[in-house]
């Protein structure tokens, strides 16, 4: 009796939950309304079966509950009934399968007028490539991937030279234009999924997979990796911006081709030195940084990272948050660099500097810090050396107080939350693994111990209490 009532309650509750649920598909932003239709058909068929079977179950349990004055029926088989049930089930299944296969046929066959772009996945970033003027993507090979050629394009292949490279987690597409996405992975399995577009596909190293869609709604949509790709899988996000043809063309015009990236960079050390004069007021004449001025060490930080940050400062991506007072100062100062050329010049000069800041201790626990640092090490390297391939800056050149402040800023979304900050959202997620100040101190202390002269420095200026000297082998 009770069991029957509960089953009816569960059926009703399931229906109520279903119709009242605010958790439902995100509004569709592509041509794949046919997928939604198939889902609806499936919902109706399965929903009816769910209700009927369980109501029948509840009724049977109630009606034929134990009665000592009754006996069960004896009916081993009922051919007619079984045949009918088989038929009805087959019809129901066919009603779902037929539209499903029809729509799959559409998904498999890409329209001939579709544009093409390539999505490249790696742990734990996205980048993209467009075929350029000739409409043909150049050949690629994993062996060719390097810091100068992150896409691994064959420089001998003429088709590749005009390929347009998007060094960013964010891709743009024009509205109402079918687009075929070719997919390639540099390392492990990934998955290109945009919930609003409904379609998704794995990226597999060693082969090229594809999907296609026509974006139908302007907006900026999140790309999620949905195939487990290691520790930081959950931070592997990108964006896709659907915009008007005009805006798309403006965006496209600003992108660089493979041929352009092959040009050796031009810079002028003399001009760079002159420009650096403004920087040196805070960052020191040798780029060694200055805690009193809240200035991090610049020397020995790779140029690609500082270039990205300088542009972020200039564009208000970094240093625009109201609680980021030191960032605001830097944003103002970054305006003194008039253009990309000026940035290249000053960075070229900084690359010649060898200043080293005192890496004052923060009193953390090295053993605990080492455990925590494991999460950092995948991108920033086992020795905090930073990795271009993972867009991760060098940590050991940075002073502990600076590291701690930036980690705190990330945790509080003071840094990294700007939609144009490509890798900031990743650091926001990762920084939250350090759940209290002690954890921050521990991991910063460990990074400091990795720095040249870090833990082995006997001189401990300023505040902070002395650490026990700890031997850290360089190769660790």
């Amino acid at each position: 009796m009770l069991v029957a009532i509960v089953i009816i309650i569960l059926v009703v509750a399931s229906l109520v939950f279903h119709f009242a649920s605010p958790w439902w598909f995100t509004p569709l932003a592509s041509n794949w309304s046919s997928i939604d239709d198939t889902i609806n058909i499936t919902f109706w068929v399965t929903g009816i079966v769910f209700v009927l079977v369980n109501c029948f179950l509840a009724y049977a349990v109630f009606r034929y509950r134990f009665n000592k004055n009754k006996r069960a029926d004896y009916e081993p088989e009922n051919k007619k009934l079984e045949t009918w049930l088989t038929l009805i089930t087959t019809i129901g299944v066919a009603a779902m399968l037929a539209p499903g296969l029809f729509v799959w046929g559409q998904f498999v066959n890409v329209p001939e007028d579709a544009d093409v772009f390539e999505a490249v996945g790696q742990q734990w970033h996205w980048s993209y490539r467009l075929p350029g003027q000739d409409g043909v993507l150049g050949q690629t090979a994993v062996e060719l991937i390097s810091e100068k050629n992150p896409f691994g394009i064959n420089p001998e292949d003429a088709n590749g030279l005009d390929d347009i490279l998007i060094f960013s987690n964010e891709m743009h597409v024009p509205i109402d234009q079918p687009v075929k996405v070719l997919m390639r992975s540099k390392d492990v399995l990934h998955n290109f999924a945009v919930p609003q577009f409904r379609v998704k596909m794995d990226l597999v190293p060693g082969l090229v997979s594809y999907l296609w869609f026509t974006p139908t709604k302007l907006g900026r949509y999140e790309i999620l990796c949905e195939e487990l790709c290691g520790m930081a899988h959950y931070t592997m996000r990108g964006h896709i911006v659907v915009e008007t043809r005009e805006n798309y063309n403006l965006w496209l015009a600003k992108q660089t081709t493979f041929a352009q990236t092959l040009q050796p960079p031009e810079y002028d050390l003399v001009k760079g030195k002159a420009l650096f004069a403004a920087c040196s007021a805070c960052h020191g004449s040798e780029g060694e940084g200055n805690e009193a001025m809240n200035a991090p060490q610049l020397a020995s930080q790779p140029a690609w990272y500082m270039k990205r940050q300088l542009k972020y400062y200039q564009q208000g991506v970094r240093g625009s948050h109201k609680n980021d007072q030191y960032g605001q100062q830097m944003a103002a100062m970054s305006a003194t660099l008039a253009d990309d050329k000026a940035i290249d010049d000053v960075l070229a000069y900084i690359a010649t500097l060898e200043g080293q800041a005192e890496k004052a201790g923060t009193g953390g626990d090295l053993a605990k810090g080492k455990v925590l640092y494991r999460n950092c090490s995948y991108c920033h390297g086992n020795n905090g050396e930073g990795k271009f391939a993972l867009n991760a800056p060098k940590l050991t050149s940075l002073q502990p107080w600076y590291l701690k402040r930036q980690l705190t800023n990330y945790q509080q979304s003071i840094r990294g939350a700007h939609p144009k900050d490509l890798y900031g959202s990743q650091m926001i997620l990762m920084s939250r693994l350090l759940q209290n100040e002690q954890a921050l101190d521990d991991v910063v202390a460990y990074i400091r111990s990795l720095a040249p002269g870090g833990a082995l420095t006997s001189k401990l200026p300023g505040k902070g209490h002395a650490l026990q000297p700890v031997k850290v082998s360089a190769g660790e």
Binding site: A72, G100, W104, L228
Partner: protein, 604 residues
């Protein structure tokens, strides 16, 4: 009369138990081995249960537990999944119940290879120990997800990519050896050692389910074995079976030419039949529980048998429905979607037949019956959501989301476990001679049944929303409303409650062993042979001097013209005639109160 063999006719000359040691430890008695299997499986299952609790804590309350970092989270997920699927469900259903029930239900004295049977358990135990050892190696157990997809499984960036993964693969290989020894035994015993008169079409559905599941296992596990070996070679000596030319965290590696998709094909060639290796024994056992406690024959027995056989066969040609978005040739989608939806037909028929078995029955709402009815509900739910994922184009938005997690937990987590509980409450009196406590059993049922639905119903909707599985945390994600976190917290609370409630069950099992109500030989008035033994628990050799002879199918409940509402399989017609009732009892809907109490129903 079909083939019964000399083996079944043998006088009981198997080595009789001697000391405690040979009786309970190095025992070759299938019943002792079954209990060893069961206790080990439930023990390691509890570890997996705790892991799921830890993982739910992170999902329900992110940024709260500092000891759970992304690596640890992935390790919990991976070990939870692998333990539950292989080391708990497969081992408990086949190693536990298969071992206990096969000889008893087919009327044999033991498995045909008792020594091999014993070896199977000890090898299984070794596999469990190797698996658990991976918690204690540097880097911890593997965190590659239970599917162990290369390349990431063996590369830095994935937790446990050194010792952890090697121990995992070694443990799987050892498990497969153990399973093969057990499986060959089960198949041979069913084919060769059935009692006189036990034709195949008289076998209880439990045996049919276990029989076909074992055949599936024998055919499917080798695919996992070879992929485990190939992956170990890739990892240890640098072959490239599954490894194409690739980078790892920016560094170039020496691999070239391998295919990650090949692994997925091998894995799911094993992995999909594995679903039915778990499901078919459950289908069989629940059929017998339903028939016994509804006092009615299973409806459409022959169709049930053929459905089991058809599902078993079809399960080998649907595997790539796990790979619709894997990057394999998308044209495969047409084929695998079609086969997958075809398999829904025999499966649906089984559900109908269970419900129709209850129809016009006389349902005793015992604890096993409650779990069996709970199973029909959860399996219907889980089966229907499978139609979403099997239909290739509907899989596109739902693949790799929480919808998948909710679906497979309903269909191959909760449902088989409902049956396992039904089976334990049902057969415990035979195994121990005592009933489990009914009140505790009912409390256990309600919390487990309602609690698991409270976990998994909402989880489907996280999937519709697009929340990906295997994410340590969502963080700020534009399309996901804050309310999703409320849902997640509620799911976690339900999960913790369900987890803790299992202590009631454990307590009940231990308490009832000593204090439970005495049961007698056939407390449920069941027809099948295991209830017709002369002693309970059955002694070594099961049947005393004479093996049973089978005269009828397994479902002669409430046969017209017979006073008792069940006729045991080993009761000859001559004796049945003596039971003829005068007049027959009212049936179905025509209730006529009788003054005389019908026999056989006073024990319920």
């Amino acid at each position: 009369m079909t083939s019964y063999t000399a083996i079944a006719d043998q006088v009981d000359d198997s080595p009789h138990p001697g000391s405690f040691f040979t009786k309970y430890i190095w025992s070759q008695d299938h019943k002792v081995i079954a209990i060893q299997y069961s206790i080990t499986a439930i023990g390691v299952g509890l570890v997996a249960l705790v892991l799921s609790g830890l993982m739910r804590l992170q999902l329900g309350f992110p940024d709260t537990f500092s000891f759970i970092d992304p690596a640890a989270y992935l390790q919990f997920v991976t070990m939870h999944g692998m333990i539950m699927v292989i080391y708990l469900l497969t081992a408990l259903l086949l190693g536990g119940f298969g071992n206990y029930l096969i000889p008893l239900m087919v009327g044999a004295r033991d498995m045909v290879f008792p020594f091999l049977n014993m070896l199977s358990y000890w090898t299984y135990l070794l596999a469990v120990l190797v698996l658990l050892a991976s918690f204690f190696v540097t880097g911890g157990p593997t965190g590659a997800g239970w599917t162990l997809y290369p390349p990431q499984t063996i590369l830095p960036g994935t937790p446990g990519n050194d010792g952890g993964i090697i121990l995992m693969l070694a443990s799987l290989a050892i498990f497969i050896i153990a399973f093969t020894m057990g499986g060959l035994n089960y198949v041979t015993t069913i084919l060769q050692a059935r009692a006189k008169g036990m034709t195949l079409m008289r076998m209880p559905l439990t045996i049919w389910g276990i029989f076909i599941a074992t055949i599936l296992g024998l055919l499917a596990f080798p695919a996992l074995l070879v992929s485990a070996i190939m992956m170990v070679l890739d990892k240890v000596i640098g072959t490239s079976f599954f490894m194409p030319a690739l980078l790892s965290l920016g560094e170039s590696l020496d691999y070239t030419g391998g295919s990650p998709v090949l692994f997925q094909h091998l894995f799911w060639f094993f992995g999909h039949p594995e679903v039915y290796i778990v499901a078919l024994p459950a289908f069989g056992m629940v059929s017998d529980v339903l028939a016994t406690h509804a006092r009615k024959n299973i409806f459409g027995y022959r169709m049930m048998v053929w459905a089991i056989v058809a599902i078993g066969g079809l399960s080998f040609i649907v595997w790539a429905h796990h790979m619709y978005v894997s990057g394999m040739n998308p044209y495969f989608g047409f084929f695998f979607a079609t086969t997958t939806l075809i398999i829904a037909v025999p499966t649906a028929l089984k559900v109908y037949n269970w419900v129709l078995t209850l129809w016009r029955g006389n349902i005793h709402m015992t604890v096993p019956m409650m779990f069996a009815i709970g199973f029909i509900f959860t399996f219907t739910h889980g089966g229907l959501t499978g139609l979403f994922l099997g239909n290739v184009v509907v899989d596109l938005p739902l693949s790799d989301t929480y919808f998948v997690v909710a679906h497979f937990h309903m269909v191959m987590g909760v449902s088989p476990i409902m049956v396992l509980f039904a089976a334990i409450y049902h057969w415990y009196p035979k195994i121990t001679g005592r009933f489990l406590h009914t009140g505790l059993g009912k409390a256990h049922f309600w919390f487990t049944f309602l609690g698991t639905y409270a976990i998994y119903l909402p989880m489907h909707y996280l999937g519709f929303l697009g929340v990906p599985r295997r994410y340590f945390a969502m963080g700020p994600t534009e399309f996901i409303p804050d309310s999703a976190q409320v849902l997640n917290a509620n799911i976690t609370i339900s999960a913790i409650i369900v987890g803790v409630v299992q202590l009631i069950f454990i307590y009940n099992v231990i308490w009832s062993l000593f204090k439970g109500k005495k049961a007698g030989d056939n407390p449920w008035d069941a027809t099948t042979l295991e209830w017709q033994t002369q002693t309970t628990p059955p002694g070594h050799g099961n049947w005393g001097k004479n093996l049973p002879v089978v005269y009828r199918w397994a479902y002669d409940y409430s046969v017209p013209g017979v006073k008792a509402d069940f006729i045991p399989q080993n009761m000859p017609d001559s004796e049945v005639e003596k039971l003829a009732a005068e007049p027959d009892l009212p049936r179905g809907d025509n209730v006529v109160p009788l003054k005389e109490k019908p026999a056989g129903e006073d024990k319920s």
